[in-house]
C-alpha cells in the first residue's frame, strides 16, 4: 500500500517499544552465541550432523507445508463451495484439530502403533496438526471473493478451472501463503512431535544440546541456524505473496458464490473429510479415553480443577497482552508500509520460529534478575505474548488492511485526526478479525509447554504441564483426564474460530481472516 502518510508519533513509539520487547530472545541468542567464540561456533556448525539436520528440517517444513496446503485448501473448497452434506459439521471437525496439541496426537498414534516413528510419521502428524491454519485462511478468502467477479469471469467464457486460477487463486494467495509461512515456522519450532517421533530437526538438536551437555552457547549457535532458516522462509514468502489485494466490486456487502453440485461424489468428499477428522481428532480422543478407562485412574478432581484454572488464566492474560502488543504493529503493517513496518514484521516472524526452550531460557536469564517478577503470572503472560506475537500481529494486520482506505479519508475529511480515525473507524470494523487473532493466540497458549515449564510460578501447574509430567513417567492413563480436559477447554476458542458466521453478524464475516 502507498506510504506517504506520516506515521503518528504515538504509534511509532509504541511499535518500537513492543519490537524491543519482542527482540529480547533474539538478543539473548546472539549474546550466547557470541560468548561461545568463533572457533567453538564453527566447530558446532561444521559437524557432519549439521548437514543432515538441515536436510531433515527443510524437507520436513516443505513436505508439511505441501500436505497441509492440500488438506487445508481442499477442505475449505469442499466446505465453502460445494453441496457437501453438513458443511458446518466438517468445518468444526476440521478446525477442532487445533485443540489437540501435537505431543498428544503423536503419543496417541504411538500408543496405537508402537512402531510409529520417523520422518514420514512426522510429516503425517504435523500436516494434520497444521492443516486447520490453512483451512481457516483459505475459507476466509473464499468467503471474501465476490460472486459477481466469478460470474462475470464465467460469462466471458472462462472454464471453472480458469476461474479458479485467474480469479480465485490470485485473491486467496496472500492469505494462504501467509498461513503456509506460519505452518513452516511452526514446523521449525515444534518440539513435542519431532522428539517423540525421533526426527532430528534443529529444534530437537537445540533441545538435546541444552539437556545433555548443559552447553548453552553451542545450543545458541545451532538455534541461530534456525533463525537464518526462518529468515529465508519469511523472505521467500514476502516475495511470493505478491501484492494482490482482494477487491470488492463495491462498498456494499459481498454475495457468496453458488455451491457446485458434486452429485454422488459428495459422499466421497464427505468420507475424505471424515478420514482426516478421524486421523487428527478421532484417534487421539479414542486413545485418551481407552487408556483412561483401562487404568481406571483415580481422578484427582481438585488437581484437575486447579490445572484448568491455571491454564485458562495464564492463556487468557497471555492472549490479551499479545493483542495489546500487536495493535501498534498490526496497524503499522497494514497502513504504513515503510521500512519500520517491514522490519517489525520480519523481526516478529523470526521470533516465531524460535523453539520455546530458547525463549524460555532467554526470559529465565532476564527474569531471574527481576526479583519478584520472576516466575510470576505476569512474566508467563509476557512470554506467551512474545511467543505468539506473530499470530496476533498477522490477524490484526489483515483485518485492518480489509478496512477500505477511503473510510480513513472520509473520517479525516470530517475533521478526525489519525488517532481518532483509528479509534472510531478502524478498530470497530477490524474487531472481528482481531477477535479471531485473540482466539488463535489463546488456543495456542493453552497448549504451550517449554516456556511454561521454566516461567510458570512454582506450584502453578497448567494442564499441559500435568500431561507432560504424567507422560514422562509413562503414566499415560493418569495423563488422560488432563489431556481430555485440555482438548475440551481448547475446543471452546477453536469452535468460536470455526463459526464466525454464526456467532457474529454477516457483515463481520467479510473481515474474518487469519
Amino acid at each position: 500500500m502507498a506510504g506517504g502518510i506520516a506515521v503518528p508519533r504515538m504509534l511509532q513509539i509504541s511499535a518500537l517499544f513492543v519490537l524491543f520487547l519482542a527482540s529480547i530472545p533474539l538478543g539473548y541468542l546472539l549474546l550466547r552465541a557470541i560468548a561461545s567464540g568463533f572457533a567453538a561456533a564453527s566447530a558446532v556448525l561444521l559437524r557432519e550432523k549439521t548437514v543432515s539436520t538441515l536436510i531433515t528440517t527443510v524437507g520436513l517444513a516443505i513436505l508439511v507445508a505441501l500436505f497441509s496446503a492440500m488438506i487445508g485448501i481442499s477442505s475449505a473448497w469442499l466446505i465453502q463451495r460445494t453441496n457437501l452434506p453438513s458443511p458446518g459439521l466438517f468445518l468444526v471437525l476440521g478446525t477442532l484439530a487445533l485443540a489437540v496439541p501435537s505431543y498428544v496426537s503423536t503419543y496417541a498414534w504411538i500408543a496405537l502403533i508402537p512402531s510409529f516413528a520417523g520422518f514420514a510419521a512426522a510429516v503425517f502428524i504435523l500436516s494434520l496438526t497444521t492443516a486447520p491454519y490453512v483451512l481457516l485462511a483459505a475459507l476466509a478468502s473464499l468467503r471474501r471473493i465476490d460472486a459477481t467477479q466469478e460470474e462475470s469471469a464465467r460469462a466471458s467464457g472462462l472454464t471453472a478451472s480458469q476461474v479458479a486460477r485467474r480469479v480465485i487463486w490470485p485473491q486467496s494467495r496472500p492469505a494462504i501463503f501467509a498461513s503456509l509461512l506460519l505452518v513452516m515456522l511452526y514446523v521449525l519450532s515444534d518440539f513435542g512431535a519431532v522428539s517423540l517421533l525421533r526426527v532430528d530437526t534443529f529444534t530437537r538438536v537445540v533441545h538435546t544440546m541444552y539437556k545433555a551437555t548443559f552447553d548453552r552457547s553451542a545450543a545458541a549457535v545451532v538455534a541461530l541456524i534456525l533463525v537464518l532458516l526462518a529468515a529465508i522462509l519469511i523472505y521467500v514468502e514476502y516475495k511470493a505473496r505478491g501484492s494482490a489485494v482482494a477487491a470488492k466490486s463495491g462498498l456494499g456487502s459481498i454475495r457468496s458464490a453458488t455451491r457446485i453440485d458434486l452429485g454422488f461424489k459428495k459422499y466421497l468428499a464427505a468420507s475424505y473429510l471424515l478420514i482426516i477428522a478421524i486421523a487428527s481428532l478421532g484417534v487421539p480422543i479414542y486413545v485418551l479415553i481407552t487408556r483412561f478407562v483401562s487404568v481406571a485412574a483415580e481422578i484427582n478432581v481438585s488437581n484437575l480443577v486447579s490445572a484448568t484454572i491455571a491454564t485458562v488464566s495464564a492463556a487468557l492474560s497471555g492472549a490479551l497482552l499479545a493483542m495489546l502488543f500487536a495493535i501498534p504493529l498490526g496497524i503499522l503493517a497494514a497502513r504504513y508500509s515503510g521500512r519500520l513496518s517491514r522490519y517489525a514484521e520480519f523481526g516478529i516472524l523470526l521470533t516465531h520460529a524460535l523453539p520455546g526452550v530458547v525463549i524460555g531460557l532467554a526470559l529465565v536469564a532476564l527474569g531471574s534478575r527481576l526479583g519478584f517478577l520472576y516466575q510470576s503470572l505476569p512474566l508467563l503472560a509476557f512470554s506467551y505474548a512474545v511467543l505468539f506475537l506473530a499470530k496476533a500481529v498477522g490477524s490484526i494486520r489483515t483485518s485492518i488492511a480489509r478496512v477500505p482506505r477511503v473510510y480513513d479519508d472520509i473520517s479525516r475529511s470530517l475533521g478526525n485526526n489519525n488517532w481518532q480515525t483509528i479509534r472510531k473507524i478502524t478498530i470497530p470494523i477490524a474487531a472481528p478479525g482481531v477477535i479471531t487473532g485473540f482466539l488463535l493466540v489463546l488456543l495456542t497458549a493453552m497448549k504451550e509447554l517449554p516456556a511454561t515449564l521454566m516461567l510458570r510460578p512454582t506450584g502453578f501447574d497448567t494442564l499441559a504441564i500435568e500431561i507432560w509430567t504424567q507422560t514422562s513417567i509413562s503414566q499415560y492413563g493418569q495423563a488422560a483426564p488432563y489431556a481430555l480436559i485440555l482438548v475440551l477447554v481448547a475446543a471452546t476458542p477453536t469452535y468460536l474460530l470455526s463459526r464466525p458466521d454464526r456467532a457474529q453478524s454477516s457483515e463481520s464475516r467479510e473481515n474474518m481472516t487469519l
Binding site: K211, M454, S474
Partner: protein, 333 residues
Amino acid sequence: MAALILSAAACGSENNQRVSEGESLSGTELTVYSGRSEEFIGPFFADFESATGINLNVRYGDSAELAAQLLEEGNNSPADIFISQDAGSLGAVAESGMLTTLDAEILNLAPTEYQAKSGAWVGLTARARVFAYDPVKVTELPDSIDDLLDPKWNGKIGIAPTNASFQAFVTALRQLRGEVAAESWLAGIAANNPVAYEKNSMIVEAINAGEIELGLVNHYYIYEVAEALGGEINVKNGFFAVGDPGNLINVSGAGILNTARNSAGAAELIKYLLSNESQNRFVSDTNEYSILLEVPSPQGLPTFADIGTPVVDLDALKDVRLTQEMLVRVGLL
C-alpha cells in the same frame, strides 16, 4: 526491596541452623527444584511438611532441564535445594560452583561411593541398569553387553539414546573400557539396527507389544509400565554377569544451593529423605534401591552385592558431551 527483606529473614534463620529438630523452621518457606516426578516424591514432601511445619514450594521438571535453568539463573536462583533424577545433572550444577558443601552430618548418612567427592551432593536412591526382555521370545539370556552385538539381535533391541540414563551408561562404559573400546561397542550395537525410543518406558511398552525383544533400561520401568497399563505385562528384568558395565548403578540425589535462603530447611529435607523410614518407603512404593546398605532390596530384586555393579565414579557422569559426540559418530544420535 522484597528480596532484601527476604534475604534478611533468611540470614536470621541460618543462624538457627544447628537446631536439629527443625522446630524453629516451622512456618518457613523452602523452594525445591525437583527433577523427580510429583507422582513418586510428592507424598514424601507432603509428610515432611506436616512433620516440620516447613512449607515447600516445589517446582517439578526434567532433571537436566532444571539444571539448565539453574545455570541460567545463576546467583539469582530462587531455589534452595535441587533434587535430581541422575548424578549427571547434579554434577553439572556442582561444577559451576552453585552447590554448597554439605554438612558432614548429612554426608555421613550415605556411603561415599554414592555422593560427590567434593561433598556438593548426596545420593538419595539408587537404580540399576538392566535389560528388560520378553520372556517368551528370549530364552537364552545375554551374559554381557557384548552378547548383544551378536547378529541374532539384529533389529530386536530397543535403546533410548537421547535419554540421560542411557547416556550415563555410555559415559560409564567409556570410563570402564576406554574411549576406543566404548566406541567400538556402540558401533557394533548401531550395526545391529537397534530401535531407538525417546523414553525408557516406551521401550518396555514396545517389548510388551511384541515390537522388540529386549531393551536397555532402568530396573523400575517394568513396574511403572505395568501399573500404567493396568496389570501384568509380558516383560521381565534381567541382569548381566557380575561386574558387567551393563549393570551400572546410578543414583538420584540432592544438593543445596549456595544462594539458598533456607539452607537449614534444605538440610532437614535431605536428612528426612535419607532417614530409614523414607528409604524403606522408597523401596516399597517406587521399587527403587535404598542408598543405605542396611535397607533391603525391592521385592524380587537381587541385592547390590549380587548384581555386581562395576566401579564407576558417579561424579564423572556429568561429562556427557564426549558421549554425545560418540553417539553422533556411530549414528545413534
